[in-house]
Symmetry: C2
Subunit: 320 residues, 2 copies
């Protein structure tokens, strides 16, 4: 049982001091490595790790082809400004090869997990000589994995898998007692810029979790373009999360007066404190209509756009 530290009770400075000590004690004279996705959790753990280890923490950004538009450049730029060097590793071909033909959500997650740990990151870790892996797992990930709602890709220990035996390295999870709001408070204290520590959550399987059905390069590109419109138009509302989902179902549309059998994008925008429960944000209809118009205008193959109106539960935040 992990003891939760709420955002309210979190004292960032003493928490940082304690975790920096833990990390230093565990890593000793060795090296550690961590993967930065650009999300709040991995950004915060990167800063915490650099506070503890300095140059002895090697931070990599794995370009898996499933990221949002411009994400690698943006994230490495933010960290460069903070004095942290992030190495970008291009592994797009490996991820799309692993995802080929897979439509089941669990199988997609599993393919991404296996490619990430066993192939790409596992290889980097082995080559680097680092024996310690720093990871931004938070309490909500653990809850959802234990409840069987979603298999998060970063909670091996919770699933009874020994990462030392399975992958040859040890995982440190300094954020595991926190939820999202606590991580934001901590990230702020660690000096992350507002744009980063206030970033909306982004799922581990990235845009592969935003397509229903197979995650091909073309389908990922479609949802990437829709995501760009959604993030641009909904970023100003102070909501918890907003996302675009590419559906597999085909719906009837019309273009130039002719039938155009196309696809649908579903937009979700959530009000939530900690992701355990969530309600759809009451985005003004003018904005929703403009959003739909931009998506059908800008994203090839899309003829229909919907907005989620169900709450969590019984919905979940992501669809896949």
């Amino acid at each position: 049982m992990i003891r939760e530290i709420t955002a309210h009770e979190l004292d960032p400075e003493s928490f940082i001091g304690e975790k920096v000590e833990d990390i230093r004690r565990t890593v000793g004279e060795g090296w550690a490595i961590n993967a930065l996705s650009g999300g709040v959790d991995s950004s915060t753990v990167t800063m915490l790790g650099h506070r503890a280890l300095g140059e002895r923490l090697r931070t990599v950004f794995v370009e898996n082809g499933l990221m949002r538009a411009g994400e690698a450049e943006q994230v490495t730029g933010f960290f460069r400004a903070l004095g942290v060097t992030v190495e970008v590793v291009d592994a797009r071909a490996e991820f799309f090869a692993a995802l080929k033909g897979i439509t089941d959500p669990e199988a997609k997650r599993e393919a991404i997990t296996q490619t990430f740990y066993r192939e790409v990151f596992g290889r980097l870790v082995r080559e680097s000589g680092a024996k310690h892996l720093l990871q931004g797992t938070i309490l909500t990930d653990v809850d959802e994995t234990v409840a069987g709602i979603k298999r998060q890709h970063n909670v091996f220990e919770q699933l009874g898998i020994d990462p030392q035996a399975a992958f040859g390295y040890r995982i440190l999870e300094p954020l595991i007692q926190l939820r999202k709001d606590g991580v934001r408070k901590l990230g702020q204290a660690l000096g992350l810029p507002g744009e980063l520590f206030q970033r909306i959550p982004f799922p581990g399987p990235a845009l592969a979790a935003r397509v229903i059905g197979e995650a091909t390069p073309e389908r990922i590109e479609t949802v990437r373009q829709a995501t760009q419109v959604v993030e641009r138009m909904l970023s100003g509302y102070g909501t918890f999360q907003y996302l675009a989902i590419l559906h597999e179902d085909r719906v009837t549309g019309m273009r130039d007066g002719r039938r155009d059998f196309g696809r649908q994008i579903e937009v979700r925008c959530w009000d939530s404190v900690d992701a355990r429960t969530a309600t759809p944000t009451r985005v003004p209809f003018e904005i929703l209509e403009q959003l739909a118009q931009e998506i059908v205008g800008a994203v090839p193959g899309i003829v229909s756009v919907t907005y989620n109106i169900a709450s969590k539960p019984p919905s979940t935040i992501e669809a896949v």
Copy 2:
């Protein structure tokens, strides 16, 4: 080229007089038959036909298993009150047998068309001895068929098929110069009760057009239940059309703290004058949230509900 008569220029009394004459002249001493679906178009053409032919028009309601809850009882009750006897024919088994395994929207329409014309209604017509079939085709049906957007099931002549040769009877289409608003005006003049002539449009393939993928008895029952909630909650807004669509895509949900991989209902509610263009109705968010809550609470297997925010074009009013 069919000459359009707009609702504005329509003079119901002289139109009725002219069409009653046409129908009497064409049918002569014989019998005519028509199928009543309960929609505005077929209800109006039923009244027009009875005005012209009285008891020499036989009106049947084909129970195809794809109708909304209580539809047969409601429709026959309305007409009984108007002095028109409607015969209900149970053909559910024939329709579901024809739809088995079919997922393509065009193939579904075709299966329903063929079952309706060649099997059920064709048999009724042949057994009845009637040589004339009265049908409520309107101009929008013709437009959409010609444009290739949707193959309407009731416009054989427009598709270059001779119904006399193909099916052994002749089709009369007295409403073919009108659009929906004109038909409503005409229905009112023919004495149809408000509940009927103001009914929202309902597609020819009925609830089979409201499921993406195979139209099994179970899936039709699911969308029937969702439709009942949607019609009850959105009937008061004076909108053009509102509908529920059962998607085939599976989405993640949670019930009792556990993962529940389920289905999604999409709700569409349209503002439109004549169905050629349409925009989503700005239904208050409290209503949309309540709607979603009732659907996930009442309809088995549904974990997510969306609301359409795209306009026609490029969307169409129905999804299938």
